[in-house]
Symmetry: C2
Subunit: 204 residues, 2 copies
Protein backbone atom coordinates (compact mmCIF):
# COMPACT_ATOMS: atom_id res chain seq x y z
CA UNK A 1 0.00 0.00 0.00
CA UNK A 2 2.17 2.79 -1.32
CA UNK A 3 -0.09 5.73 -0.22
CA UNK A 4 0.11 4.89 3.49
CA UNK A 5 3.88 4.61 3.20
CA UNK A 6 4.19 7.89 1.28
CA UNK A 7 1.77 9.88 3.41
CA UNK A 8 3.73 9.84 6.67
CA UNK A 9 6.95 10.63 4.80
CA UNK A 10 5.38 13.71 3.19
CA UNK A 11 3.96 14.63 6.56
CA UNK A 12 7.40 14.28 8.18
CA UNK A 13 8.90 16.39 5.43
CA UNK A 14 6.33 19.14 6.01
CA UNK A 15 6.94 19.01 9.76
CA UNK A 16 10.69 19.36 9.23
CA UNK A 17 10.15 22.29 6.89
CA UNK A 18 7.82 23.99 9.36
CA UNK A 19 10.29 23.52 12.21
CA UNK A 20 13.11 25.00 10.14
CA UNK A 21 11.02 28.00 9.16
CA UNK A 22 9.91 28.52 12.77
CA UNK A 23 13.52 28.41 13.98
CA UNK A 24 14.53 30.82 11.19
CA UNK A 25 11.92 33.35 12.39
CA UNK A 26 13.40 33.34 15.92
CA UNK A 27 16.93 33.36 14.58
CA UNK A 28 16.33 36.39 12.34
CA UNK A 29 14.60 38.33 15.09
CA UNK A 30 17.44 37.62 17.55
CA UNK A 31 20.57 37.47 15.43
CA UNK A 32 19.63 39.22 12.21
CA UNK A 33 20.62 38.05 8.74
CA UNK A 34 24.31 37.83 9.65
CA UNK A 35 23.61 35.16 12.28
CA UNK A 36 20.99 33.23 10.30
CA UNK A 37 22.82 30.39 8.57
CA UNK A 38 21.29 27.07 7.54
CA UNK A 39 23.54 25.35 10.12
CA UNK A 40 22.49 27.56 13.05
CA UNK A 41 18.81 27.27 12.12
CA UNK A 42 19.06 23.46 11.73
CA UNK A 43 20.57 23.17 15.21
CA UNK A 44 17.82 25.32 16.75
CA UNK A 45 15.17 23.30 14.96
CA UNK A 46 16.71 20.00 16.11
CA UNK A 47 17.06 18.94 12.46
CA UNK A 48 20.20 17.44 10.92
CA UNK A 49 22.24 19.78 8.74
CA UNK A 50 21.79 17.42 5.79
CA UNK A 51 18.00 17.38 6.12
CA UNK A 52 17.99 21.18 6.44
CA UNK A 53 20.09 21.54 3.31
CA UNK A 54 17.79 19.16 1.45
CA UNK A 55 14.89 21.57 2.12
CA UNK A 56 16.88 24.79 1.82
CA UNK A 57 20.11 24.54 -0.18
CA UNK A 58 21.04 28.18 0.58
CA UNK A 59 20.40 30.77 3.31
CA UNK A 60 18.51 32.79 0.72
CA UNK A 61 16.11 29.88 0.08
CA UNK A 62 15.51 29.60 3.80
CA UNK A 63 14.75 33.27 4.38
CA UNK A 64 12.53 33.54 1.32
CA UNK A 65 10.45 30.64 2.68
CA UNK A 66 10.46 32.34 6.08
CA UNK A 67 9.21 35.69 4.79
CA UNK A 68 6.54 33.91 2.73
CA UNK A 69 5.45 32.01 5.81
CA UNK A 70 5.28 35.14 7.99
CA UNK A 71 3.38 37.09 5.35
CA UNK A 72 0.95 34.21 4.79
CA UNK A 73 0.31 33.86 8.52
CA UNK A 74 -0.32 37.58 8.89
CA UNK A 75 -2.73 37.71 5.98
CA UNK A 76 -4.66 34.67 7.24
CA UNK A 77 -4.92 36.34 10.65
CA UNK A 78 -6.22 39.57 9.08
CA UNK A 79 -8.86 37.69 7.08
CA UNK A 80 -9.98 35.85 10.18
CA UNK A 81 -10.31 39.04 12.22
CA UNK A 82 -12.12 40.69 9.29
CA UNK A 83 -15.06 38.32 9.87
CA UNK A 84 -15.85 40.16 13.10
CA UNK A 85 -15.91 43.67 11.56
CA UNK A 86 -19.10 45.71 11.30
CA UNK A 87 -20.48 46.42 7.79
CA UNK A 88 -20.64 49.77 5.99
CA UNK A 89 -18.92 53.01 6.99
CA UNK A 90 -18.41 51.96 10.61
CA UNK A 91 -15.74 49.54 9.35
CA UNK A 92 -13.42 52.49 8.71
CA UNK A 93 -11.98 52.86 12.21
CA UNK A 94 -11.47 49.17 13.09
CA UNK A 95 -9.94 48.53 9.66
CA UNK A 96 -7.66 51.57 10.01
CA UNK A 97 -6.58 50.15 13.40
CA UNK A 98 -5.91 46.67 12.00
CA UNK A 99 -3.93 47.98 9.05
CA UNK A 100 -1.91 50.65 10.85
CA UNK A 101 -0.88 48.12 13.50
CA UNK A 102 0.10 45.57 10.87
CA UNK A 103 3.85 46.17 10.95
CA UNK A 104 4.47 46.48 14.65
CA UNK A 105 5.91 43.46 16.40
CA UNK A 106 8.63 40.84 15.99
CA UNK A 107 7.59 39.65 12.50
CA UNK A 108 8.12 43.07 10.97
CA UNK A 109 11.39 43.42 12.90
CA UNK A 110 12.64 40.12 11.46
CA UNK A 111 11.68 41.21 7.93
CA UNK A 112 13.28 44.62 8.44
CA UNK A 113 16.59 43.01 9.37
CA UNK A 114 16.47 41.20 6.04
CA UNK A 115 15.49 44.23 3.97
CA UNK A 116 18.32 46.30 5.43
CA UNK A 117 20.82 43.47 4.93
CA UNK A 118 19.59 43.03 1.34
CA UNK A 119 20.28 46.67 0.54
CA UNK A 120 23.99 45.77 0.71
CA UNK A 121 23.89 42.11 -0.39
CA UNK A 122 23.16 41.35 -4.05
CA UNK A 123 22.26 37.65 -3.65
CA UNK A 124 19.79 38.44 -0.88
CA UNK A 125 18.37 41.39 -2.79
CA UNK A 126 17.79 39.20 -5.88
CA UNK A 127 16.01 36.63 -3.69
CA UNK A 128 13.83 39.19 -1.87
CA UNK A 129 12.85 41.57 -4.68
CA UNK A 130 10.25 39.30 -6.38
CA UNK A 131 8.99 38.25 -2.94
CA UNK A 132 8.57 41.90 -1.89
CA UNK A 133 6.41 42.48 -4.96
CA UNK A 134 4.32 39.37 -4.27
CA UNK A 135 3.83 40.08 -0.56
CA UNK A 136 3.04 43.71 -1.38
CA UNK A 137 0.33 42.65 -3.85
CA UNK A 138 -1.20 40.27 -1.29
CA UNK A 139 -1.24 42.94 1.40
CA UNK A 140 -2.87 45.34 -1.05
CA UNK A 141 -5.56 42.79 -1.94
CA UNK A 142 -6.40 42.00 1.67
CA UNK A 143 -6.52 45.72 2.56
CA UNK A 144 -8.91 46.31 -0.33
CA UNK A 145 -11.13 43.44 0.88
CA UNK A 146 -11.07 44.64 4.50
CA UNK A 147 -12.02 48.14 3.42
CA UNK A 148 -14.55 46.77 0.94
CA UNK A 149 -13.35 49.52 -1.38
CA UNK A 150 -13.98 49.88 -5.11
CA UNK A 151 -10.61 50.23 -6.79
CA UNK A 152 -12.12 51.35 -10.09
CA UNK A 153 -12.90 54.72 -8.48
CA UNK A 154 -10.21 57.38 -8.94
CA UNK A 155 -7.80 57.75 -6.05
CA UNK A 156 -8.88 54.57 -4.23
CA UNK A 157 -5.84 52.57 -5.31
CA UNK A 158 -3.50 55.29 -4.07
CA UNK A 159 -5.36 55.65 -0.76
CA UNK A 160 -5.05 51.91 -0.12
CA UNK A 161 -1.35 52.02 -1.03
CA UNK A 162 -0.79 55.06 1.20
CA UNK A 163 -2.46 53.17 4.07
CA UNK A 164 0.04 50.31 3.77
CA UNK A 165 3.05 52.61 3.28
CA UNK A 166 1.93 54.61 6.31
CA UNK A 167 1.64 51.36 8.27
CA UNK A 168 5.24 50.47 7.36
CA UNK A 169 6.40 53.93 8.44
CA UNK A 170 4.57 53.43 11.74
CA UNK A 171 6.33 50.08 12.09
CA UNK A 172 9.66 51.91 11.87
CA UNK A 173 8.52 54.51 14.41
CA UNK A 174 7.70 51.69 16.84
CA UNK A 175 11.07 49.99 16.50
CA UNK A 176 13.00 51.64 19.35
CA UNK A 177 10.19 52.77 21.63
CA UNK A 178 6.51 52.12 22.19
CA UNK A 179 4.69 54.44 19.78
CA UNK A 180 1.22 52.99 20.35
CA UNK A 181 -0.41 56.09 21.90
CA UNK A 182 0.56 58.38 19.04
CA UNK A 183 -0.38 55.65 16.56
CA UNK A 184 -3.86 55.36 18.04
CA UNK A 185 -4.42 59.11 17.46
CA UNK A 186 -3.35 58.61 13.83
CA UNK A 187 -5.72 55.65 13.52
CA UNK A 188 -8.69 57.82 14.49
CA UNK A 189 -7.64 60.53 12.04
CA UNK A 190 -6.90 58.02 9.28
CA UNK A 191 -10.34 56.45 9.67
CA UNK A 192 -11.72 59.77 8.35
CA UNK A 193 -9.50 59.47 5.26
CA UNK A 194 -10.77 55.93 4.69
CA UNK A 195 -14.45 56.59 5.37
CA UNK A 196 -15.34 57.86 1.87
CA UNK A 197 -13.93 54.71 0.21
CA UNK A 198 -15.12 52.13 2.77
CA UNK A 199 -18.06 49.84 1.97
CA UNK A 200 -18.32 50.89 -1.69
CA UNK A 201 -17.03 47.59 -3.08
CA UNK A 202 -20.26 45.65 -2.45
CA UNK A 203 -18.46 42.76 -0.74
CA UNK A 204 -19.08 43.44 2.95
Amino acid sequence: MTPTVREPRQERSRTTRRRLVGAAVDCLAELGWAGTTVGVVAERAGVSRGAAQHHFPTREDLVVATVEFLAGEQIAELRERAETLPRGKSRAEPVARMLLNLYTGPKFRAALHLWVAASGDDALRRALTPLEAKVGREAHRVALDLLDADESRPGVRETVQATLDLARGLGLADLLSDDSKRRERLVRQWAKTLEPIVGEGGRA
Copy 2:
Protein backbone atom coordinates in the same frame (compact mmCIF):
# COMPACT_ATOMS: atom_id res chain seq x y z
CA MET B 1 47.19 87.61 21.10
CA THR B 2 45.39 84.58 22.44
CA PRO B 3 42.36 84.75 20.06
CA THR B 4 44.46 84.27 16.87
CA VAL B 5 46.21 81.31 18.49
CA ARG B 6 42.94 79.73 19.67
CA GLU B 7 40.98 80.35 16.50
CA PRO B 8 42.98 78.07 14.19
CA ARG B 9 43.04 75.30 16.80
CA GLN B 10 39.25 75.43 17.17
CA GLU B 11 39.00 75.52 13.40
CA ARG B 12 41.25 72.46 13.11
CA SER B 13 39.17 70.68 15.72
CA ARG B 14 35.96 71.43 13.80
CA THR B 15 37.55 70.21 10.57
CA THR B 16 38.63 66.94 12.22
CA ARG B 17 35.15 66.44 13.62
CA ARG B 18 33.55 67.11 10.25
CA ARG B 19 35.91 64.66 8.53
CA LEU B 20 35.12 61.96 11.08
CA VAL B 21 31.40 62.46 10.71
CA GLY B 22 31.70 62.45 6.91
CA ALA B 23 33.66 59.18 7.01
CA ALA B 24 31.12 57.71 9.43
CA VAL B 25 28.28 58.45 6.97
CA ASP B 26 30.06 56.50 4.21
CA CYS B 27 31.05 53.76 6.60
CA LEU B 28 27.50 53.24 7.89
CA ALA B 29 26.05 53.20 4.39
CA GLU B 30 28.63 50.64 3.19
CA LEU B 31 29.34 48.48 6.23
CA GLY B 32 26.40 49.08 8.55
CA TRP B 33 26.67 49.49 12.30
CA ALA B 34 28.69 46.28 12.72
CA GLY B 35 31.52 47.65 10.58
CA THR B 36 31.44 51.22 11.91
CA THR B 37 34.03 51.39 14.68
CA VAL B 38 35.90 54.53 15.78
CA GLY B 39 39.14 52.94 14.47
CA VAL B 40 37.76 52.17 10.99
CA VAL B 41 36.19 55.62 10.68
CA ALA B 42 39.41 57.34 11.86
CA GLU B 43 41.41 55.51 9.21
CA ARG B 44 38.96 56.48 6.46
CA ALA B 45 39.01 60.08 7.63
CA GLY B 46 42.83 60.15 7.73
CA VAL B 47 42.68 61.09 11.41
CA SER B 48 44.73 59.45 14.18
CA ARG B 49 42.89 57.02 16.39
CA GLY B 50 43.76 59.15 19.42
CA ALA B 51 42.34 62.32 17.87
CA ALA B 52 39.21 60.42 16.84
CA GLN B 53 38.73 59.07 20.35
CA HIS B 54 39.19 62.56 21.78
CA HIS B 55 36.18 63.71 19.75
CA PHE B 56 34.15 60.52 20.04
CA PRO B 57 35.05 58.28 23.00
CA THR B 58 32.58 55.57 21.90
CA ARG B 59 30.99 54.31 18.66
CA GLU B 60 27.65 55.44 20.05
CA ASP B 61 28.92 59.04 20.41
CA LEU B 62 30.14 58.95 16.82
CA VAL B 63 26.90 57.68 15.32
CA VAL B 64 24.75 60.05 17.37
CA ALA B 65 26.80 62.96 15.99
CA THR B 66 26.47 61.45 12.52
CA VAL B 67 22.70 61.13 12.65
CA GLU B 68 22.42 64.69 14.03
CA PHE B 69 24.60 65.93 11.19
CA LEU B 70 22.58 64.10 8.52
CA ALA B 71 19.28 65.30 9.95
CA GLY B 72 20.55 68.89 10.25
CA GLU B 73 21.79 68.86 6.64
CA GLN B 74 18.50 67.50 5.38
CA ILE B 75 16.45 70.08 7.25
CA ALA B 76 18.66 72.94 6.05
CA GLU B 77 18.25 71.68 2.49
CA LEU B 78 14.46 71.53 2.88
CA ARG B 79 14.31 75.08 4.23
CA GLU B 80 16.44 76.32 1.34
CA ARG B 81 14.26 74.64 -1.27
CA ALA B 82 11.15 75.95 0.52
CA GLU B 83 12.14 79.49 -0.52
CA THR B 84 11.33 78.63 -4.12
CA LEU B 85 7.81 77.27 -3.42
CA PRO B 86 4.66 79.04 -4.62
CA ARG B 87 2.38 80.56 -1.97
CA GLY B 88 -1.13 79.43 -1.01
CA LYS B 89 -2.86 76.21 -2.00
CA SER B 90 -0.57 75.55 -4.97
CA ARG B 91 2.19 74.70 -2.48
CA ALA B 92 0.41 71.42 -1.70
CA GLU B 93 1.83 69.32 -4.53
CA PRO B 94 5.47 70.51 -4.45
CA VAL B 95 5.51 70.21 -0.65
CA ALA B 96 3.98 66.71 -0.82
CA ARG B 97 6.74 65.82 -3.33
CA MET B 98 9.52 67.21 -1.13
CA LEU B 99 8.26 65.48 2.00
CA LEU B 100 7.40 62.11 0.47
CA ASN B 101 10.85 61.93 -1.14
CA LEU B 102 12.57 62.87 2.12
CA TYR B 103 13.61 59.37 3.15
CA THR B 104 14.81 57.97 -0.12
CA GLY B 105 18.54 57.85 -0.68
CA PRO B 106 21.75 56.89 1.11
CA LYS B 107 21.21 59.05 4.24
CA PHE B 108 18.01 57.24 5.15
CA ARG B 109 19.68 53.91 4.38
CA ALA B 110 22.53 54.73 6.76
CA ALA B 111 20.06 55.72 9.49
CA LEU B 112 17.98 52.60 8.88
CA HIS B 113 21.02 50.38 9.42
CA LEU B 114 21.41 52.02 12.81
CA TRP B 115 17.77 51.78 13.80
CA VAL B 116 17.64 48.09 12.99
CA ALA B 117 20.91 47.44 14.82
CA ALA B 118 19.61 49.40 17.82
CA SER B 119 16.53 47.20 18.07
CA GLY B 120 18.89 44.44 19.31
CA ASP B 121 21.60 46.54 21.02
CA ASP B 122 20.74 48.25 24.31
CA ALA B 123 23.64 50.76 24.36
CA LEU B 124 22.86 51.91 20.84
CA ARG B 125 19.14 52.06 21.56
CA ARG B 126 19.76 54.23 24.64
CA ALA B 127 21.92 56.57 22.54
CA LEU B 128 19.45 56.82 19.65
CA THR B 129 16.10 57.04 21.45
CA PRO B 130 16.41 60.70 22.61
CA LEU B 131 17.89 61.60 19.24
CA GLU B 132 14.97 59.98 17.42
CA ALA B 133 12.58 62.14 19.42
CA LYS B 134 14.59 65.30 18.70
CA VAL B 135 14.99 64.64 14.98
CA GLY B 136 11.31 63.70 14.76
CA ARG B 137 10.30 67.01 16.37
CA GLU B 138 12.52 68.96 13.97
CA ALA B 139 11.13 67.15 10.93
CA HIS B 140 7.61 67.88 12.20
CA ARG B 141 8.38 71.58 12.63
CA VAL B 142 9.90 71.95 9.17
CA ALA B 143 6.97 70.06 7.59
CA LEU B 144 4.54 72.39 9.36
CA ASP B 145 6.46 75.43 8.07
CA LEU B 146 6.65 74.09 4.51
CA LEU B 147 2.92 73.41 4.50
CA ASP B 148 2.26 76.71 6.24
CA ALA B 149 -0.34 74.80 8.23
CA ASP B 150 -2.14 75.91 11.40
CA GLU B 151 -1.59 73.19 13.98
CA SER B 152 -4.24 74.59 16.33
CA ARG B 153 -6.90 73.28 13.91
CA PRO B 154 -8.24 69.80 14.70
CA GLY B 155 -6.60 66.99 12.74
CA VAL B 156 -3.75 69.10 11.34
CA ARG B 157 -1.15 67.72 13.72
CA GLU B 158 -2.10 64.14 12.81
CA THR B 159 -2.08 64.90 9.07
CA VAL B 160 1.44 66.34 9.32
CA GLN B 161 2.56 63.31 11.35
CA ALA B 162 0.95 60.90 8.88
CA THR B 163 2.81 62.68 6.05
CA LEU B 164 6.17 62.01 7.71
CA ASP B 165 5.30 58.43 8.70
CA LEU B 166 4.12 57.80 5.15
CA ALA B 167 7.42 59.25 3.88
CA ARG B 168 9.35 56.79 6.08
CA GLY B 169 7.24 53.91 4.78
CA LEU B 170 7.99 55.05 1.22
CA GLY B 171 11.68 55.12 2.13
CA LEU B 172 11.42 51.44 3.07
CA ALA B 173 9.57 50.64 -0.16
CA ASP B 174 12.43 52.24 -2.11
CA LEU B 175 15.15 50.27 -0.35
CA LEU B 176 15.47 47.26 -2.68
CA SER B 177 14.11 48.65 -5.93
CA ASP B 178 13.33 51.99 -7.53
CA ASP B 179 9.82 52.88 -6.36
CA SER B 180 9.83 56.43 -7.74
CA LYS B 181 7.02 56.00 -10.32
CA ARG B 182 4.54 54.61 -7.82
CA ARG B 183 5.66 57.23 -5.28
CA GLU B 184 4.96 60.04 -7.73
CA ARG B 185 1.35 58.82 -8.12
CA LEU B 186 1.02 58.85 -4.34
CA VAL B 187 2.47 62.38 -4.23
CA ARG B 188 -0.28 63.66 -6.54
CA GLN B 189 -2.95 61.93 -4.47
CA TRP B 190 -1.42 63.07 -1.16
CA ALA B 191 -1.38 66.68 -2.36
CA LYS B 192 -5.20 66.51 -2.25
CA THR B 193 -5.05 65.37 1.38
CA LEU B 194 -2.74 68.27 2.21
CA GLU B 195 -4.60 70.98 0.23
CA PRO B 196 -7.20 71.79 2.93
CA ILE B 197 -4.50 72.47 5.54
CA VAL B 198 -1.93 74.23 3.29
CA GLY B 199 -1.46 78.00 3.52
CA GLU B 200 -3.65 78.43 6.61
CA GLY B 201 -0.79 79.23 8.96
CA GLY B 202 -0.24 82.78 7.71
CA ARG B 203 3.51 82.34 7.32
CA ALA B 204 3.92 81.80 3.57
